[in-house]
Amino acid sequence: MESIITLAALKVVGYGLGTCGPGIGIGLACYGCCVGTARQPELAGRLFTDFIIGAALAEALALIGFVLTFIF
């Protein structure tokens, strides 16, 4: 029982560590999207689509971490 609790806790900690990088990355992407939209509002739609694609690429890492908590 003791070791199961430790493993579960480690999973959560590992997932938390795994989200740090993608969190910063998505934040930067959102920053770029906002600044770009403020400078050129007519490109808003295009910028938002590109932002979603970039965020999806960064988010992939966090999602892999989420899946690993199920696997192990």
Binding site: G45, A56, A60, L63
Partner: protein, 268 residues
């Protein structure tokens, strides 16, 4: 018994409240015949699919040149919006062929996410099997379209971006291949993770509200019930956030499917 002890004390069936909440997210057969059956998620998926077809078809039937019907106009507005956002800016030329699938994804996921927000209903996208099926359809569709547009060998070559130095091509190609296959996983897990985690948070907040209200009633002590107000307020705020997430995840799934199709078919 203090409110927080109620959370971890086992009930008659040996499960405490948190276990029961966790258990309610597991797939269980609601209708079973023989060894097989329908889990609650699949049942709600069938209901949602029917609902989507009815909503969109009624919207299309009532559609007219001068919009008079608010409901039909809403559906038309959504469809035009996704045609603009996902068609013209993510896929590009010749996007009309792909809009049937992309719009189906959008409306189906939108309706199923919103159905899950109604208390007592289950969201089909809260199950990994359903989102996995959706992402499989999307994955095979964009690969098929890519092979159709460029031919088999041309599609395999196009995985690495053009204009690289010759030495770098195999390495970059390998990494791009990994990221291509990971799209299959990420499309499914993003939708599932967002819906599952959101509903789990809502469940825990309502559980906390219940525990404090029940504790206050049991001990006839109003002061003890005060935290329930804060939990209830948090629950309402999270519910509003979940409504946003429900729309956003449908949008993200559709826009990513569209951009993958666009990446696979566009001329470089």
């Amino acid at each position: 018994m203090s409110p927080l002890e109620m959370l971890t004390t086992p009930g008659e069936n040996g499960m405490n409240l948190l276990d029961e909440l966790r258990h309610s997210f597991d797939s269980q057969f609601v209708i079973s015949f023989g060894g097989t059956g329908l889990t609650q998620y699949i049942l709600w998926m069938l209901i949602t699919a029917t609902l989507t077809v009815v909503v969109v078809l009624v919207g299309a039937r009532k559609d007219s040149l001068i919009p008079t019907n608010k409901f039909a106009h809403t559906i038309e507005f959504l469809y035009h919006n996704i045609c603009g956002d996902m068609g013209t800016s993510a896929i590009g030329k010749g996007y009309q062929r792909h809009m049937t699938l992309i719009a189906t994804f959008f409306f189906f996921i939108l309706v199923s996410n919103f159905v899950g927000l109604i208390p007592g209903c289950k969201t089909p996208t809260g199950s990994l099997s359903v989102t996995w099926a959706l992402s499989t359809v999307s994955f095979f569709y964009f690969n098929y379209q890519g092979i159709k547009a460029r031919g088999g060998w041309g599609y395999i070559k196009s995985i690495a971006p053009a204009g690289l130095p010759v030495v770098m091509v195999p390495i970059i190609w390998f990494f791009e291949l990994i990221s291509l296959v990971l799209r299959w996983l990420t499309l499914a897990v993003r939708l599932y993770g967002n819906m599952f985690a959101g509903h789990m948070v809502l469940g825990i907040f309502s559980l906390m509200t219940y525990v404090f209200v029940a504790g206050a009633i049991q001990q006839m002590n109003l002061i003890l019930g005060l935290p329930a107000i804060a939990w209830m307020a948090l629950l309402i705020v999270m519910y509003a956030l979940e409504t946003l997430v429900a729309f956003l995840q449908a949008y993200v799934f559709a826009v990513l499917s569209a951009s993958y199709v666009g990446l696979a078919t566009s001329e470089h």
